[in-house]
Amino acid sequence: MFCSDCAMPAPDGAKFCSSCGAALAAASVPPAEERRLVTVVFCDLVGSTVLAGHLDPEVLRSVTLRYFDLMRDSVQAHGGTVEKFIGDAVMAVFGIPQLHEDDARRALAAALDMTGALAKYNLELQISLGIELNVRIGVNTGEVIAATDPSANQALVSGDVVNVAARLEQNAEAGQILIGAATVEAAGRAAVTRAIPPLRVKGKDQPVPAFQLLELLADDPEVLRRFDVPFVGRDFELAELDLMLERTQRLRRCHLVNVYGDAGIGKTRLVRTWQTSLNRQVARLGTGRCRPYGDAGTLTALAEATDRLLADTRTATMSVDALDLLRAGLLKDGTPSPSLPETVAALSTVVTALAQEQAVVLVLDDCQWASKVLLDLLDELAEYLDREPVLLVCLARPELVESRPSWGSGRLNVNSMVLQGLSVEESALLAADLVEVSAHAGGSFDQVLERAEGNPLHLEQLFTSLSDVTGTGTGPLPPTVFALLASRIDSLDPAERLLLDLAAIMGREFSTAGLASFAGELDSGSLRGLTRRRLIEPVRNHGGAPSQYRFSSGLIQEVAYKGMAKRVRAERHQRFAEFLRSSQGNPPAQLSVADAAESAGHLERAYQYRAELSLLDGDAEQLRVVAAAQLGAAGVAALGRADLCWAEDLLTRAVALLGPDEHAWAPLAQRLAEVLLALGRRDDGLRMLTDALQAAAGAGDGITVAHARLQLAVHDPAAGYGTAADAARTGLPIFEQADDPLGLARAGVRIAQELQFHGRHGEADAVLVHAVDQAVRADAEPERALALGALGISLWRGPIPADEAIQRCQRLLAEHGPHRSMVQVTLNCPLAVLLALQGRIEEAEQCLQLAGPLACSLGYAEADVFMPLFTATVAALAGHADRAEQLLRAALQASNQLGRSGLDAAASRDLARILLDRGLWDEAHQLTDGLAPADQGDPTQHLAPSEAADQFGIRSRIEALRGNTRLAAVLAEQAGVEAGRTDSPISRGVAALDSARVLALLGDSAAARDAALAARRWFEQKRHLVGVGQATELAQESGPRR
């Protein structure tokens, strides 16, 4: 167990903490401190010193005591608590000890009552003493830490919200009520206010917005809710209400319909919409609403409904006695005066008379707040009216079933419906009407929809407060929604509350076994209680007792979590992480990424809360180091699974917990840098890599140094570590000595890429096969995918015939591809081109359709360039030059954005070839001119032989079209020489084909035909059928005319 004061561990059964000496609470008692959303009211007398000078001390004392009484009465009448008296000031709190969903509204009502009560008292004072009292009031809402131990005399509220409330009061003028922005938001549209200039408050950098309360409108749903937006969905429920009314009329029997649903789910709106649709000739209507508290009679709701029933009715035919009785009691003040039986009898007489002409519908809203008297009366009334066409519609939250399980039972003709949340489509329709003009970005809109979980009230409130600059709908909960849910949680008994809190620590979903171990023991009654109150719900129940539960809404988990003091959260996260580790059993290295990330995340939060509270002792230090190590391990594992975004998140958090001077920092920073580079954040990645290299060198961490140098050489050739292959060769002995398969795989790939650069695809193939094996051993998907992708390139460009290469690609895919998105991407792209070489376009397109979305979903920035590039290659081979052109232009644009030159040279050359096919040499020239000085100097210093061959070939065709015949011929020959340095039949074939085209343009038909036939031989060797076709066609065109 842990001490709730200092969070230090304590032996089980200890009565006092050995660290701080505090008494240790028994396990089942919830901590005595909570975070709560409360509304604080400050009220102070204005000019009391002047008053003191005028009055006899005894008179002054009696006046002041009376003033205190009046203020206390006003506070208590609305469910608030007077926290303390400070001089002549009264401080009251709404939300302690009991939370109400409308605490902010109650506080404002109390504030208005305070001024009202004082005004009345002043009339007395003016007559008796010739004086007048004046007060000024400040009201503010916010989160406080409250001691909620019922045995304590004071709630001991503290926090910023209290200070601001006091400042608001001090800034108010006599008779004025100033309120804070959070109170305005929490009270909703009923509070009529006027903004005044923001206040400068000591200790706060920003001025505090302030508002003057002008008026508080009735808590009518018409005012508080958005009934102006169109009604959405609920066709089934409307039809059911119609059906019940029809039955009532046809059978001429009294029916009761209960409409149950959570707060804000749309009960009132449903029934109002239904009422509006009713023909007045069909039924007579009366509606009323129960209040959570107040000074109205207990039957007010029924009185309202009856009053409206009678409003436009000729009462001449009714029993005068019954009407008089009701007018003197129920209709006058909502009381059952002179007695309950007489009221029921009179009411049934009146309703029966009305029901003779047409059916009567009585709607009572918010019946969860109905008194026992009202519910008893309704029961009895239904008995009296059993043989009359009367439909009683009761709207209630599910709490009604809790507080009065017998409601509606034991009666015939009762129907209950439970309103569920709106569907996603319906929510979207509703949301579209909540704002006048909205942008059509998907992200924030969808997040709000998801968070609101189909509850229209939550949807309204969340959309109103959607202003997070990050463009997400995940900002703080609006106080209205928070208060609604917090009051539901607050009504739990301590054992249920503890269980809910612990579950909130565990997550949105939790196992009963986990919760039982975490809580020490699991009281199944509490679990059932939470389920019955719809706070949690079982999942995956295959018969028997449910083993897994989840919060019935993410918002409930959020509110329960935020209700715990940070110190309590810290202690519980740490305890739960320890429990997870002990229950996971496996050594850390064998944990799944999710398991490792989960327990690491709990430790991290435990540390962060302690840091926020400045509780940084030796234990916290230990917590930090362990959390960083576990997060780092989970991040590396995520990287191994090629989940870049997850890896970035985990590694960033791990690195943030450590300092560069700590030994563990450099290897984690180096891995984070790799993730950043892969995500396209080059500058951040290179900076972090350089820092990691320095830190590792300082710490004598040779392997990290070798990795960092290799990565720097790959990503920043100007960094001074030579080529990637150089760095790979330098690192190789270090990796071999340490038997580091990851290092070996990486070094292998870089060495193979150098071979590929020099056109030695056959040799590269052998190196890559070894690299794949090492990557498999390291369980590193990016390296495995990289090596396989490189292998795919050699299969495409190299000497192996296309049909055999396709088979090998497919075998590699079958072996390494399943469940590996990256491998699917890196192998399917070259496979698509190989298939296209053989004219198997449909299969090629299928490969690309598989790879494209996967590439994007993995978050690789380069996907924007290489996907259109491969797609264009396939399109060009398929003869769709227009489409290829579009794609290549898109690739070029994307490449410019990324700032890389390697891929855009390839795209430019491919595009130039398409333009040349149309004779557009001018733009082709512009595109390729800047790439390398192909017609001056030695291009091989800059370009690989295959690229140089490509470049020379293109330039030769340009020059031929320009009419520079001699230069064209020389360039074509150079292309052939460069291609000859490679083992690539494609490069050689293309060079020969370029030469054939140039010779044909120069008019040398025989030589052109020879070159075309040479090209055909290379293409035949590769079994590049499209190339064979092109070469044959050219040979025929160039041959002697028949």
Binding site: E425, A428, L429, A431, A432, D433, V435, E436, V437, S438, A439, H440, A441, G442, G443, S444, F445, L466, S467, V469, G471, G852, P853, A855, C856, S857, G859, A861, D864, M867, P868, T871, D882, R883, Q886, L887, R889, A890, Q893, A894, Q897, E923
Partner: protein, 290 residues
């Protein structure tokens, strides 16, 4: 563009009956369109666009503003905002209240690098605004006779529909093309719902160059709007989704076409878009003869 028509697949035929607002579960192959007889000599992308980069075309983004000096947006030719009090349009420093306008501008810049970009801010920090401010901003943009007006937003409120409709018609006749995003949900909203504007939804292909025509409007064109990399606040870029981001893709395309063919009217421009859409093929001779 596509010179052959693709046979209608059975699965596609099933989906086609539901098609209207979006392309959920459908690809370009599911909505082949045979161009009517008069369009037999198809306008090719080459003819429509050539190497146009949008040079000289004035594009106005009616949105949340545009961030200053954003690397993905570059230079701005003018920034304005609607004053919330008197609804006057006043010149202002560049700035974006939530990132949305910058995102749209970055796509336009990518699609038509040399166009002149203007901004009029009508949305606030919560991706939303009021109808009166929108009307004031759009009225001003139409009066300025911008060549292209990008509107990745809409209103569902009936009280603004009449005025919006009149402005959309004015723009149509004044050769200002309004390119407007369809609602992401199946919701009727405006101005995209008017036929005098060019309405845009998202297709599901990861292909910025792919433009599709919807044979079953109200939404007329589809462009890439899923998982798009866009400029965002503080010089950053993010990946995001929504019809908001397909719309500037079509705006960019219109801009490029108008740079090459400045004399086009809005209805001519819309016809050109139709003809260069990837799923629209020239009708076969036999069918035209029937």
């Amino acid at each position: 563009m596509t010179s052959t028509t693709v046979p209608l697949r059975r699965a596609g035929a099933q989906k086609l009956t539901e098609l209207s607002w979006g392309l959920r579960g459908c690809g370009p192959q599911d909505i082949p369109v045979q161009a009517a007889g008069v369009f037999r000599t198809a306008v090719t992308p080459e003819l429509a666009l050539g190497s146009s980069t949008g040079h000289g075309v004035r594009v106005c983004v009616v949105d949340s503003g545009i961030e200053a000096d954003h690397p993905a947006v570059g230079a701005l030719s003018g920034c304005y905002r609607v004053d919330g009090e008197d609804l006057a349009v006043v010149e202002t420093d560049p700035g974006d209240s939530c990132g949305h306008g910058t995102a749209c501008a970055s796509i336009i810049r990518q699609a038509a690098p040399d166009c002149e970009l203007y901004s009029v801010q009508v949305l606030g920090s919560s991706f939303s605004g009021t109808g009166n401010v929108l009307l004031a901003g759009l009225r001003w943009a139409v009066q300025q006779r911008f060549d292209v007006i990008n509107m990745s937003l809409s209103t569902t409120r009936p009280e603004f529909v009449q005025a919006l409709h009149e402005m959309a018609d004015d723009a149509f006749f004044a050769r200002s093309v309004i390119v407007a995003a369809a609602h992401n949900s199946r919701v009727e909203s405006f101005p995209w719902r008017f036929s005098s504007v060019i309405s845009v939804g998202s297709h599901q292909q990861e292909d910025p160059a792919l433009i599709l025509y919807n044979p079953r409007p109200p939404v007329e064109f589809f462009a890439q709007g899923q998982n798009v990399r866009v400029g965002w606040l503080n010089g950053s870029t993010i990946r995001t989704t929504g019809n908001s981001f397909a719309t500037p893709r079509i705006t960019g395309l219109c801009t490029r076409i108008l740079a090459k063919h400045p004399q086009l009217t809005v209805f001519e421009l819309k016809s050109v878009l139709y003809q260069i859409a990837a799923n629209v093929g020239a009708a076969s001779a036999t069918e035209n003869e029937v």
